[in-house]
């Protein structure tokens, strides 16, 4: 089923919908909703699901190399959660009108996006710590805020997702602390990872929001709850102190707390890089999609077998 962006909505329904949302009511899958609302929710949740599925890849590279048995089990459990989140999110997206198999095909074909932060390599074991603590920490800001999304099925799964993300962040902190308090080589490896991940983290929440009718609508409909800048500041307030507490460096000489303005001042990251990565031109964009496609192709016969079994069942 294709979603029409410009299908005119019945004005009476639209007015009723707007007033319901204004009264803090939420929307369920089978209820009437403006075509635009459906399309925006689907786009957001499909991309979120894609990001969980692709976000599993950088860390999963380190599962075979995890340096202790308990690190290995915990890392499998963590990556497993991300795959599980993709399952929950595709299910929510599906009821907005697109079958899961089609969404997977779109991801494989590169016609739907996944989050910028997952287009980068995970070069060392310290990258695992940085991803778990800071990438998941950043994701927690967005996901936490969206628990008050107007789309009820999304808000509901985000409760469970945030509960599990909390485990990821604590696990990340444990990994981070172990390396930060470890040998000089471990500390150097950690600082190097932090240096490489800082720009992707500053890109994480997207560019500064420009006032626009689109943004106004997204906020009014509670598909977006906080602005990109609010989320970025929230992230910095929570995580800059963690970096400093363990004697690590924030790799931005321009970063400082601006007391009068009550926020962190920072050096603008390169937004052209952000745009390139968004277009799928990041350092690992192609390789990660290729890898996923390779397994997807390898499993074709399994999907066919399951389909035959479904017919027989």
């Amino acid at each position: 089923m294709s979603v029409q962006h410009d299908a005119p909505d019945d004005p009476e329904n639209l007015a009723a919908f707007e007033s319901r949302l204004a009264a803090n009511d939420r929307v369920e899958a089978g209820e009437w909703m403006p075509a635009r609302y459906r399309a925006e929710c689907l786009r957001l949740i499909q991309m979120h699901a894609n990001s969980e599925l692709m976000g599993a890849l950088p860390e999963r590279e380190w599962i075979p190399r995890a340096p202790t048995l308990s690190r290995k089990m915990a890392l499998v459990a963590k990556v497993q959660d991300e795959i599980g989140h993709a399952q929950l999110l595709y299910r929510v997206a599906e009821d907005l009108g697109k079958p899961r198999a089609q969404m997977i095909e779109e991801l494989m074909a590169g016609t739907s996006k996944f989050h910028n932060v997952f287009h980068y390599p995970a070069e060392t074991w310290a990258d695992v710590a940085v991803i778990q603590l800071f990438v998941d920490g950043a994701a927690m800001q967005t996901q936490g805020s969206l628990r008050s999304s107007s789309y009820a099925p999304y808000a509901r799964v985000l409760k469970r997702i945030c509960y599990e993300e909390d485990f990821h962040i604590r696990l990340g902190l444990d990994n981070f602390k172990t390396l930060a308090e470890g040998t000089p080589a471990q500390r150097a490896m950690l600082q190097d990872a932090l240096n490489r991940w800082w720009e992707p983290l500053m890109h994480f929440f997207g560019p500064h929001d420009q006032a626009s009718p689109h943004l106004e609508m997204m906020m009014r409909w509670r598909i977006k709850v906080k602005t990109n800048d609010e989320l970025r500041q929230q992230f910095l307030r929570q995580f800059v102190p963690v970096i400093l507490e363990y004697g690590m460096q924030v790799p931005d000489p321009g970063l400082r707390w601006d007391e009068p303005r009550n926020h962190y001042a920072y050096t603008e990251p390169d937004w052209d890089v952000f745009k390139r990565v968004s277009r799928g031109e990041g350092p690992k964009s192609r390789a990660r999609l290729d890898l996923r496609n390779r397994y997807h192709a390898q499993h074709r016969w399994v999907r066919e077998a399951v389909a035959r079994w479904e017919m027989a069942a």
Partner: protein, 100 residues
């Protein structure tokens, strides 16, 4: 309303219900894609019961679930005074009862 109407592939999407202890009712916790009910139970176990323990799981095909419409939610709330159905409305009796 049949939930299969809004769920693509409803025959192979199963709602999962989890019972935490025998003192609890089964609660809907999510769904799985599976070719049949037996496989749905196998897969539901790890997707919905891998952290917190439970004692029982149910799976139900989406196309087999019928539901009221949210448009009719007002029907599910009393419109007129039904306070007489609640113990809290009988204050004097409550006071006497509690004293015993």
């Amino acid at each position: 309303m049949n939930l299969g109407e809004i769920t693509p592939g409803a025959r192979h999407v199963f709602a999962v219900f989890r019972q935490e202890t025998k003192n609890d009712a089964h609660v809907h916790v999510g769904d799985v894609h599976a070719p049949d009910a037996e496989m749905a139970l196998v897969l539901a176990k790890e997707q919905f019961a891998r952290r917190d323990p439970c004692v029982n799981l149910w799976v139900v095909r989406y196309c087999d679930i019928d539901a009221t419409r949210y448009e009719d939610a007002d029907m599910l709330e009393p419109a007129t005074d039904k306070s007489y159905r609640f113990g809290g409305s009988y204050r004097e009796q409550q006071r006497v009862y509690r004293r015993r």
